[in-house]
């Protein structure tokens, strides 16, 4: 049964409380963990309907329910072929992100080139 609880404060049994807005704005609105490649392997996700592989190291993360706008915050981590190579997860320079899709690129610092990561994990908050 659907319903709505309206409250400005959340409090646990020990009396610890926080403003409800902290829970709303501080919660992940979407996240995904996937392996890169021509047919990405999606390990787990929340509020992500699909992953689109556009070219080497270039991925689109489609949200099941779109963000309110494109001004969300995204963070990511990646690993490349089991190495300790530094990997950068960036906003894609080739595709423009919107409220409904986040485009990322994965760069191997060692070769300074885009690569398909062994896995990449991205979390979005708004």
């Amino acid at each position: 049964m659907a319903g709505t609880i309206v409250s400005d404060v959340l409090q646990d049994g020990a009396g610890n409380s926080t403003a409800t807005t902290n829970a709303i704005k501080g919660s992940a609105k979407a996240w995904v963990n996937f392996g890169g490649g021509a047919s990405p392997i999606i390990n787990a996700s929340f509020n992500v309907s699909s992953i689109t592989y556009n070219s080497t190291g270039q991925f689109g993360i489609n949200f099941t329910t779109a963000m309110t706008d494109a001004n969300y915050s995204a963070v990511g981590m990646a690993n490349y072929a089991g190495t300790s190579n530094q990997m950068f997860v960036n906003y894609s320079a080739n595709f423009t992100s919107t409220a409904s899709i986040l485009y990322i690129s994965t760069l191997d610092r060692s070769s300074n080139s885009l690569v398909n990561p062994t896995f990449v994990a991205v979390t979005v908050t708004r």
Binding site: G37, A38, S50, Y53, S55, N62, T64, S113
Partner: protein, 134 residues
């Protein structure tokens, strides 16, 4: 058997869209993909050496092929990028007084031989077999 969605993207390459399972694939097709996108089994995607050259894939109807001249150009681009890194390392070695494993002449000769191999290759398997300089 996994189904994916393929289409030609705005950059002229092929995009492969993989649903997470939160929505049925037909909803993903309608919501996340442009008109003309099609659902295929992922086993129909190019495999082996052809899969290495994803950025040279071209979609013709429901069939993906590898544009070989593009694959060749990408291989040469990546080879040259690796060669630059090795050349820089060799220069640093020289400045630091560390002997390089190969002479400049041998290094240049190896680069030339590999570039000729890239130019004369006729299959993606041949391209994959050509190692980048180390």
């Amino acid at each position: 058997m996994t189904q994916v969605i393929i289409y030609t993207n705005s950059n002229g390459g092929v995009s492969v869209c993989v649903p997470t399972g939160e929505l049925p694939i037909n909803e993903v097709l309608a919501k996340d993909c442009p008109a003309g996108a099609i659902i295929v089994d992922d086993s129909t995607l190019p495999q082996g050496a052809d899969s290495v050259f994803f950025d040279a894939w071209k979609l013709d109807g429901s069939t993906i092929t590898v544009d070989f001249p593009t694959a060749q150009a990408h291989k040469l681009r990546d080879f040259n990028a690796a060669a630059v890194q090795v050349a820089q390392k060799r220069q640093l070695n020289t400045l630091a007084g560390i002997a390089n494993a190969k002479s400049d002449a041998d290094f240049a000769s190896e680069l030339a031989t590999s570039r000729e191999s890239i130019a004369s290759a006729t299959t993606t398997a041949e391209l994959v077999a050509i190692a980048n300089p180390v």
